[in-house]
């Protein structure tokens, strides 16, 4: 564990009934990097995010964030100290307009206290901040899109809304669970600068992806999971040449 390690995952395991979803997975994330997690369907990527962000309790292992043991903390506490996440199965607050979706994270104790993001403040303020964030994330401010009901947004915007919900928290780390899937090539191309921008702002990104080509364009390092085990880690060009990784993906995805 080096000095610039922001998050250290040590030997996380999880079993569902008899199924070993994660087996002794360890890795360190450096501050400010984009870290990719790849692996075939059912290899345990989402489960890993859930274990780290507190949505399920790991069977064993430790999660250390900035030197603090946060294993088994409640999810809202983990979010409060600056670890944010998107959900693979997107579910915005359907009954609210897009920008009102951001009122919830902006209302959170973190947004109020961490400040910097003009988070607190009166009712009117929060609405404007919400639209500001949406604009930064690619909603055209003067269009009607930010004011549309979240349920009526196209997938691309819903994905952006997921990211916006994270950004509103002013997080240090964001776990992105397949934010590219379901998007067209051009939509992904539109998202890549966004990822770069978040990186420039100093946010550490951990991206679970099936779209390897696009992931490798932004990721500094990549880890591969297969059947709950870490099988490779390193620079993307190295990982993709790894024999085990090729075997895991063989016949599944063209790389």
């Amino acid at each position: 564990m080096s000095d610039d390690t922001i998050l250290s995952v040590q030997g996380i395991s999880k079993t569902f009934g008899g199924l070993k979803a994660l087996m002794d997975v360890s890795f360190d994330i450096r501050r400010g990097e984009v870290y990719g997690i790849i692996g075939p369907n059912g290899s345990g990527k989402t489960t890993l995010i859930n274990c780290i962000t507190g949505f399920i309790k790991p069977g064993g292992g430790k999660v250390i964030f900035k030197g603090k043991d946060i294993t088994r903390w409640a999810p809202h506490k983990i979010a409060h100290i600056g670890i944010s996440r998107t959900f693979q199965i997107m579910r915005p607050y359907y009954s609210l307009p897009a920008y009102k979706n951001l009122i919830i994270p902006l209302w959170s104790p973190r947004a109020k206290t961490v400040g910097g993001w003009r988070g607190g403040g009166r009712h009117g303020d929060r609405d404007t901040v919400a639209v500001d964030i949406l604009e930064e994330i690619g909603f055209e401010r003067d269009s009607r899109v930010p004011y549309k009901l979240a349920s009526t947004l196209p997938t691309g915007y819903q994905k952006r809304l997921e990211l916006a919900r994270c950004m509103a928290m002013r997080p240090e780390i964001i776990f992105c669970d397949e934010v590219f899937s379901g998007l067209s090539m051009s939509e992904i191309a539109g998202m890549l600068p966004l990822i770069e921008k978040m990186k420039e702002e100093g946010i550490t990104l951990i991206m679970v992806e099936h779209r390897l080509r696009e992931l490798f364009r932004v990721a500094d390092r990549v880890m591969a999971l297969n059947f709950g085990e870490k099988i490779a880690e390193g620079l993307s060009s190295v990982v993709i040449e790894n024999k085990k990784v090729k075997e895991a993906y063989l016949g599944k995805e063209e790389v």
Binding site: P75, H76, P92, L96, I103, I104, S108, H123, R165
Partner: protein, 334 residues
């Protein structure tokens, strides 16, 4: 040339919340319904001078409307289906009796004190049930009033099966009417405001997607506890008021009626509108009063009405009426 246009069109286009009003028609369109309700509720006791029997019914209607509001808020804005409205009523009623009869507090203190302390107690007692989802929460809340009844009977506390008698009644009939009418209106419009405020949105978020609320660093349990506090606050007021109206707090305050009729009112009036809860009570409670002569047969009539509503107009009167209302048209010059 003239063409038809929906009245709400012009109003909606302008910024939400802050309406720039252009014509008297639009003003009427916006403030008409609440004005009608408020003025109507306030002159009702005077109108009913001519029908003394029905005057008492107003109070009961408002009491049920308040309990229905408390149910509608929890069920349709927080996602907690609470079948134990009677629990709040009972707690509020008994506490008010304790404050008034045992501790000799005057009525204008015992009702507010019972409301606040009742809400605190109800919230604490429901805490263990908060993580439960859907039907499990419903079952637990259904059991609570039954449990309370049995405890009071078995331990023979607080008057046992006789209840606590001799609560002060309110000074006169008009105070009795207007207290409950005004509180009902405050709860109604207060809640309608609250659910659109930022904190209200967070609470609604819990219903939409509690995982995302957690991921936003907000404790879902805390939000639910707060919502239960608000809801039981209304229920406990209703209970404290009834206890003083009847000068009596007994185990019938925990009766199933207080849990079920408000729910039926919300179904008929339209869930998730809050106004529907009040409207439903204004329809259902007088009907139930009319059916009193039929004895237990009224349950049958009740069930028929309710089933009919769920099958044919499941959205409820209010949702239907609001849709129609927003479709009102006017003529405009082209």
């Amino acid at each position: 040339m003239m063409r038809k246009e929906r009245i709400d069109r012009g109003v909606r286009v302008r910024t939400a919340g802050l309406y720039a009003i252009a014509s008297w028609q639009e003003i009427l369109y916006l403030v008409g319904p609440p004005l009608f309700l408020i003025v109507g509720a306030i002159i009702l006791p005077i109108l009913l001078e001519f029908a003394p029997y029905w005057k008492r019914v107003i109070n009961i209607v408002c009491v049920y409307a308040i309990i229905a509001l408390s149910f509608d808020f929890l069920a349709n804005f927080v996602g907690l289906v609470c079948l134990g409205g009677a629990f709040f009523v009972g707690i509020g009623g008994y506490l008010s009796a304790i404050f008034n009869v045992y501790l000799h507090f005057p009525v204008y203190l015992s009702i507010p004190l019972a409301t606040i302390s009742g809400a605190v107690i109800s919230t604490v007692l429901l805490m263990p049930a908060l993580p439960l989802r859907g039907v499990y929460f419903a079952i637990v809340t259904l059991m609570y009033p039954l449990l309370a009844t049995r405890v009071i009977e078995a331990l023979n506390i607080m008057g046992g099966t006789n209840g606590i008698i001799g609560l002060d009644s309110l000074p006169n009939a008009y105070v009795e009417h207007y207290m409950v009418i005004i509180v009902m209106l405050i709860f109604l419009y207060g809640m309608r405001r609250f659910v659109n405020q930022d904190m209200g949105l967070v609470i609604r978020g819990v219903k939409d997607n509690d995982q995302a609320v957690r991921a936003s660093g907000i404790s879902v349990t805390k939000m639910k506890a707060f919502a239960v506090f608000v809801s039981s606050f209304m229920g406990c007021f209703a209970g404290a008021y009834i206890a003083h109206m009847y000068s009596w707090a007994g185990i019938s305050l925990f009766a199933l009626d207080f849990s079920i009729i408000p729910i039926a009112s919300v179904v008929i009036g339209g869930g998730g509108t809050l106004l529907g809860a009040v409207l439903g009570s204004f329809i259902l409670v007088p009907i139930s009063e009319l059916l009193r002569n039929f004895g237990t047969f009224r349950i049958v009539i009740y069930c028929v009405i309710l089933t009919g509503f769920i099958v044919f107009k499941s959205e409820g009167i209010m949702v239907y009426a609001m849709r129609k209302y927003h479709q009102f048209e006017r003529w405009v010059k082209v």
